[in-house]
């Protein structure tokens, strides 16, 4: 499943990273189901907890990223991961600006909050893959 060129540390980090993203997605679906069936005001303080729940594994993902960057000994790979994360951030910002403009001018509905996380992660992943592939 994983690239055989990866070190044990990189493989372990990737496994933790994937688990954390899957947990974020699962909790988002769970929370969405809860909010979908009941009105948020009926839930009271539980609504706050439910709103925070999917954010926790995503914060964990950020901590994992920082821990990985601090511990990665291969400076070239570290630079590529940083570059990919930056490009992912820029693309997410770009999407946010364009979507906000379209929302205001065309009155289109709100984008689901998790789409920004998805865009960031997918864009970063593709950017990293592209950088590493271009230097095989």
């Amino acid at each position: 499943m994983f690239n055989k060129n990866l070190s044990r540390f990189q493989r372990r980090s990737l496994q933790l990273f994937s688990s954390s993203i899957l947990l974020t997605a699962a909790l988002t679906v769970f929370t969405h189901d809860h909010f979908g069936h009941r009105h948020a005001t009926d839930l009271g303080p539980v609504a706050w907890l439910l709103a925070l729940l999917p954010a926790l594994p995503f914060l964990g993902t950020i901590v994992l990223c920082l821990r990985y960057l601090r511990s990665e000994k291969d400076e070239y790979i570290r630079a590529q991961v940083l570059l990919a994360l930056l490009q992912g951030s820029f693309l997410t910002l770009g999407f946010t600006v364009v979507y906000a403009f379209l929302q205001n001018s065309l009155q289109i509905p709100d984008a689901p909050a998790m789409i920004y996380v998805d865009i960031f992660l997918i864009a970063s992943m593709f950017a990293l893959r592209f950088h590493l592939r271009s230097n095989q």
Partner: protein, 65 residues
């Protein structure tokens, strides 16, 4: 930055993977340094110099000079 890594590696009949193993980095890193796409940090440059029993200046030369 230009370097003589490819020549030094060829003198020892090492592949990029062999050199990467000696340096404890990925093969992509060796390729990026060799092709001049990535400049190594001082610690890695010193490690390279020690590995080839040479000096940093003998391996790398600055294009701007």
């Amino acid at each position: 930055m230009k370097n003589r890594l490819r020549v030094l590696r060829a003198e020892r009949n090492w592949s990029q993977a062999n050199l990467a193993e000696h340096l404890e980095v990925s093969r992509q890193s060796v390729n990026a340094i060799e092709t001049g796409k990535f400049d190594p940090s001082l610690p890695l440059a010193f490690k390279l110099a020690r590995l080839f029993n040479s000096t940093i200046e003998a391996i790398f030369n600055d294009d701007s000079e």
